[in-house]
Structure formats: structure tokens, C-alpha cells
Amino acid sequence: MTLTDRQTDALGEFINIAFSRTASSLSEITGQRVLLEVPQVEIYPIEEVASNLARFLPGDVASIHQPFDGAIAGDAFLILNYEGAVRLTELLTDNGGVRQQYLDESAREVLTEVGNILLNACLGMFGNVLRVRVNFTVPNLHLESLDELIDSVSKEHDGLRYAIIIYTAFRIRESAVTGYLVLVLSVVSLQRLIEEIERWEERQEQEIHTSQNPAKSDLSV
């Protein structure tokens, strides 16, 4: 399934809002300026995900996994490579000058929370903005190879699945840590998602239109 340019743009804009909310949330919590780079969005069938991500994610990856269900159902992941995960934890927390050597339990907690904030922002937008009901719980952190991760996801569901891959980077204190937000959905859910985003976009345009032409809106009442 491929998206039109317009659909891709709309999806991108949608995600952007979620990401900027995440960034401000993290900024507030850590007291530092946290920026999330404007995301690049791509869609692949799940079989192609491994090959597309493999060169950016060799070795072990840290993934924060949040399944969601409701009108749109699937799995959301925030994926970082191991070093990136360690680095991100270091950047976000003030360790009193002691370097983060590896992902100890506290570090994993932090990553889980970051994933939690990001995924809440995205999935939360589905709920609030798209007016689509989505339920989700607290995410889990896993450390494993990319292949193992994809395997475990594919195993759980039958049928054709797609992955929306959103590539971004966390920018904190002049450092950048790249990460991937991956939303795995069934065809049905993906179609529903795209429909809802298009509707959302139309509503946006109407609002802009009416706010620019107040006289017209009076007439319509």
C-alpha cells in the first residue's frame, strides 16, 4: 500500500505535532532544552522493515514497546541502538559527573519513560485529535537484536501488516541521538488511520478558511 504525497505530508504534520509535544514535555521534566528533529516518515510492509533499518541498527537495540487497541490497533515502538540509548539517558539526566557506562535499571526506567511520553503523545493524538478511541497501557523495554524484535512482532499477528517508520533524532546539549518510532498496524487499521488523518486535515483547512473569512461563516449560521 502506498500513500499519496498529500497523505504522506498530512501524516508527517500530524506526527510533528506529537513530537513537539514530546520535546516540550521532556524539556519541562529535565529542565534542559530538548528538541526532536522533524521526522521523516516512510511506510513499508513488515517484511521489509528489517532490511531498511538494519544498517542503522546493527547490534542490540533498546526498544520501548507499547501495544494499543481500539478503533485503530497495533504496536508502537521507540527503537534506539544500544549506544544511543546509553547516550540519551546520559543527556537527559544529571548524573553528578559520573558517566553512564551501560544500561542499568535506572537508565532503563528513563528510556521507558521517554518511550512512554512519546508514544502517549502520538497515540494520544489519535484519541484527541482524530476522535478515534485508542486504549493503551504502560510500555515495556526490551534489549535484543533488531531481527529478534521484528520476529516477536510478526509472530503475534497473522495477516498483512504495515509499518510506519518515523526517523528522528533527539537533540540535547549539542548532541544528537537518532531513534525510530515504528507503528505496526494491520492494513485495515492503517487505512482507517489515513482516512482519519485526511479528515483531520480537511477540518484544519476549513478552520483556517473560516478564520480568514469571518463574514462567510456568519452567513452559514
Binding site: 521534566i29 539526566t93 559520573v98 557506562q101 535506572s106 528513563v110 521507558t112 484519541g127 478511541r133 504502560v138
Partner: protein, 537 residues
């Protein structure tokens, strides 16, 4: 609502309604918060834990009421609900917590929140300690690594050096060996004879130089290098060094420019070592300047220092070698294919000597092919009296005729070759020589021959040089007990020098013997002891 499981949970559990009034909490919570049931149940969470609002944590509860679950990691928040620290862990003012706030659903509707709190104080303390240990270990590893790399580099340099030494020592030996064989085996004419001998002599000199350098380095390294300080006129030192190298300067058609202030420049220094320094720098300049090139020597006084600059327009020093130019064992090219021989010790020794004189030396070059200059600064002697006596290196003695007519010299040495050489040299200056092969015979001959001066080897069988001189000194003055005595020695350590002097010798001369120096010493000794009436004895 939660049931009996919550009573035994090792975490705090707290349930509120949709307006954040506390519905229930478990035993852990009661105990740890140190609040009674009455203080909690039915109260508003935001009022019981007032700092939730001030810290801005109330929004997490609002998010939960909106259907979102929230994890609050310890690292980013420290704690959710303020509670006293657990006993036994005194480092924190509050209990350190990680927490989770989730909505409670009834169908599609959110009807309240559930908070799970975990006490992570111990875990945090442990992690901090572990991190510190890990960092310490990394630091250690890094410094070990650095030390190891340094050691390996040094080892490599020393290996290169040893290979150099081996080569440099064998090369002259080869020439000496070869030419002596030629002289022994074939018919030679006078010219070939002369050529062979001068080659042999040149190579001996080079060998002596190498061994001297090695010994110097050894002395420097073991802290045994000593300076024999006197008032020295640097202008003279420079003049002598230049004269010494004049043959080479002329042979290579080098233009030598001397820019030396006309009045004398006095410093406190070791005459011979200063010669060594200047000779080294000049011969380096010669080595690295092509035929027809130019070398400049400048001497002037600057701010209480004597400044000597030796500048050439030859090879130059490359940028990456410049910082290492004074290091031991370093040569710009230490491999077997290098163009310039030598051990790479010269400049290192020079730097040490300069610094022992309280001075500094720097090298400067604009890179390959642009020449180099070396600048030495030595503290000037603060002169009270311009008429201080000055000792300068002996000028070229070869041209001075020594006349020891009427002087009787007793030579004691168990080595026949040594005796023969001394005889030839001394007879040349018209002295009367008696050579004996052992100390016993020398003592017997002493009263018969009545020498004016005694030259003795130290290492001899039965009675060695020390015992010999002690016995001589035991004699009354009229019988020659105070006779000037020179020791010939292979050792030149400071220990050995002391021993030589305390046994009774006036001076020692190192082997291999520099005969011109020996003649000068004899001359000085005779003059010192005022033995002008040579024929009176």
C-alpha cells in the same frame, strides 16, 4: 477493590476516584507514608500530598484521568509522593521512588486512578557505587594502556639504538682491522703507509667518540655527571671548536661566518664540556650542510645571558621531528638505510650539559631544506674583577714543541705495547725514559734512576698502581716522596677518581692516551712543583 493481594504487595498501591479522592491504599503505603488510614482515605490526594501541585506533578494525574498511563522514572523525578527515607539508608532526604499512574476503566469510562510506588533507594545507592567503580576501572585501564604504549615505544627506540650502536662500533673496527691487515701482509709504499695509518687513527678517534658518548649518557642517566667549573671565556671556546673543525670546514668548502663580540664573554663552566657542546653543534651543522653551504656562529650578551647561535643553511629539521630533536636515541632516520651515521646521542648529551650549566638550548627550523639554528643561553658570570685569571683550552699543541731535555720519567706499566708507545712519545720530546713492567722493579729502580716524574698504570699484578704510589709517598721528601705522579687509567668514574687522588697520584689520564694532552700535563706538573733545576738532582 484491589483485594487481599495488595495487602502483601512489596510496593505502595493507592487508588483514587475520578476527582482524586483517595479510595484505598495498601498496608505498605500506610506504613511507609507514616500516615494513618484516617489521614488518607476520603481525603483529596492533592491536599494530602500538597507538593504534587507545587512540583507540577498534578498534571500526570490529569493525564491519567484522560486515559493515559504514565511511568515516572526515578532518575527524572526522584519521587512521586513525599515519604520519609527508609531506615538504614541515610543518604537521601526522601524515599527515592519510581512510580506509575494508570487510569481505572469501567468499560470505556475512566472512573479513577491507581498509583503504584516502588522504593528504589537501595537500588539507586548501589547503582551510584557501581558506576563510580566502573569509571575508576576505565580510568585505570586507560592509564595502563598509555603506560604500555609508552613502554613499547621506548623499547622500540632502544632496539633501534642498540642496532645503531652495534653498527657504529663495528664499522670503524672494520676499517682498523682491514688496514692493519693490509699493512702487515703486503708491501706498502710510504704514501699508502701514511694513508693506512691516518685511516686507522681516524677510526680509532671515532670509536673513542662513540664510547665517550655512551659513557656520558650513562653518567647522565645515573646522575653521576660532574662538571669541573672554572671561569671560561666563551669566545675562546668557540674559537677552539672552530679551529678543531677547520679541516672539515675547508674540505667541504663551507663559508663560516663568525659574529663574536670583541670583548671576552665570561661564564662559569667546565672547559672541556663546553668544547664538547660547541663541537657537537658545529659538527652537526657541518654534517647536515651540503658542500659550499654556510654556517654562522654568533655570540653576544643578552639580559645577563651569553647567547650562542649556530645557524646553517642545510638540511633543516622537519616539523614532525623538531619536538624530538633533543631526545635520547632519536634520529630523524633511525633505520638501516639512513644517510648519516652516529648514535643520535649528541644533542641529548648537549642539552643535558647545557642545562647542567644553568642554561637552555632550543632548536628552530622552518622545515626540510631551509636550514636550522640552535640557540644556547648560558648565565653570564657576574664579574667583580676584569683581571680574573682565565683558563682556556689548550690551543693546538701539535705545533708547540715540548722540550723535556734533562727530565727523567719513570714509566710503570705491565703492558708492553703501552710502555713502548709512551717511550716513543716521551723520547721525542727529549726526556730520559725508564720503563719497567712491574711495580716491584719500579720501586727498586726509583732510588737509582731518581726520576722527576712518575707515570704508572693502575691495574697491575701483585702490586697495583695504588700500592705503588702509597709506597712512594711513604718515602721522605728528599728521597722523592713528593714526586709528581700521573696515573693511567681505563676507568673514569667519580669513585675511581677519588681513589686515585687519595692514594697519592696528582692526576689521572684516561686511556686511550691523548699524548699531546699527556705532554701538557707533564709540563704543568713540572712547572707546578717548580722543578726548574732539572740537572741539579
Amino acid at each position: 477493590m484491589i483485594g487481599w493481594m495488595s495487602e502483601f504487595a512489596a510496593q505502595g498501591l493507592l487508588v483514587t476516584d475520578e476527582n482524586l479522592f483517595i479510595r484505598s491504599c495498601n498496608k505498605w503505603f500506610e506504613k511507609q507514608s507514616e500516615k494513618s488510614e484516617r489521614e488518607l482515605i476520603g481525603q483529596n490526594l492533592l491536599e494530602v500530598f500538597a507538593d504534587l501541585k507545587t512540583r507540577g506533578f498534578d498534571r500526570y494525574y490529569r493525564d491519567a484521568l484522560g486515559g493515559q498511563s504514565r511511568i515516572l522514572s526515578h532518575r527524572l523525578h526522584k519521587y512521586l509522593l513525599s515519604m520519609p527515607p527508609s531506615t538504614g539508608v541515610a543518604t537521601f532526604a526522601q524515599m527515592q521512588q519510581s512510580a506509575r499512574i494508570s487510569p481505572l476503566f469501567e468499560g470505556d469510562r475512566v472512573v479513577g486512578t491507581i498509583t503504584v510506588i516502588e522504593d528504589v533507594t537501595e537500588r539507586v545507592a548501589r547503582e551510584m557505587e557501581l558506576n563510580v567503580q566502573l569509571e575508576e576501572r576505565e580510568r585505570l585501564l586507560a592509564s595502563e594502556q598509555a603506560a604500555r604504549e609508552l613502554a613499547e615505544e621506548n623499547s622500540r627506540l632502544k632496539d633501534e639504538f642498540l642496532a645503531s650502536v652495534s653498527h657504529e662500533i663495528r664499522t670503524p673496527l672494520n676499517a682498523i682491522n682491514g688496514w692493519t691487515q693490509i699493512l702487515l701482509n703486503s708491501d706498502t709504499n710510504a704514501e699508502k703507509f701514511r694513508h693506512a695509518l691516518s685511516t686507522i687513527q681516524r677510526n680509532v678517534a671515532s670509536q673513542v667518540q662513540i664510547i665517550d658518548d655512551l659513557l656520558d649518557i650513562s653518567r647522565i642517566v645515573t646522575g653521576q655527571m660532574r662538571l669541573d667549573l672554572h671561569i671560561v671565556n666563551l669566545a675562546d671556546s668557540i674559537e677552539n671548536a672552530v679551529n678543531n673543525l677547520r679541516p672539515t670546514i675547508n674540505a667541504r668548502q663551507i663559508k663560516l661566518i663568525k659574529n663574536i663580540e670583541s670583548r671576552p664573554t665570561f661564564i662559569m663552566g667546565d672547559v672541556n664540556r663546553l668544547q664538547q657542546i660547541l663541537w657537537n653543534l658545529l659538527s652537526n651543522a657541518l654534517k647536515f650542510t651540503p658542500v659550499g653551504g654556510q654556517i654562522e656562529i654568533l655570540l653576544r650578551e643578552v639580559d645577563g645571558f651569553a647567547e650562542i647561535i649556530v645557524r646553517d643553511n642545510g638540511h633543516g629539521i622537519s616539523d614532525d621531528f623538531l619536538p624530538f630533536v633533543f631526545e635520547r636515541f632519536r634520529q630523524a632516520d633511525g633505520t638501516s638505510k639512513r644517510q648519516h651515521g652516529g648514535l643520535g646521542l649528541g644533542l641529548s648529551i648537549v642539552k643535558n650539559l647545557v642545562e647542567m650549566h644553568g642554561g637552555t638550548i632550543t632548536a628552530q627550523s622552518d622545515g626540510k631544506g631551509t636550514g636550522a639554528n640552535f640557540t644556547i643561553l648560558l648565565p653570564l658570570l657576574i664579574q667583580q674583577d676584569a683581571d680574573e685569571t682565565v683558563e682556556s683550552v689548550n690551543s693546538d699543541l701539535r705545533n708547540t714543541e715540548r722540550d723535556f731535555a734533562g727530565v727523567r720519567v719513570l714509566v710503570v706499566d705491565d703492558d708492553a705495547d703501552s710502555r713502548e708507545m709512551l717511550r716513543y712519545v716521551l723520547e721525542d720530546s727529549r726526556a730520559q725514559i725508564l720503563t719497567v713492567g712491574n711495580a716491584r722493579e719500579a720501586l727498586t729502580q726509583f732510588s737509582i734512576f731518581k726520576p722527576h716524574i712518575v707515570i704508572s698504570d693502575l691495574g697491575m699484578p701483585e702490586i697495583d698502581g695504588y700500592d705503588f704510589i702509597r709506597q712512594i709517598r711513604a718515602l721522605p721528601s728528599d728521597d722523592g716522596g713528593q714526586i709528581p705522579a700521573i696515573a693511567l687509567t681505563g676507568y673514569v668514574s667519580a669513585e675511581e677518581q677519588k681513589r686515585v687522588h687519595s692514594a697519592g697520584f696528582d692526576i689521572h689520564v684516561a686511556k686511550p692516551v691523548d699524548f699531546y694532552k699527556l705532554l701538557e700535563i707533564i709540563n704543568n706538573l713540572l712547572r707546578q712543583t717548580d722543578r726548574t733545576g732539572r740537572d741539579e738532582r
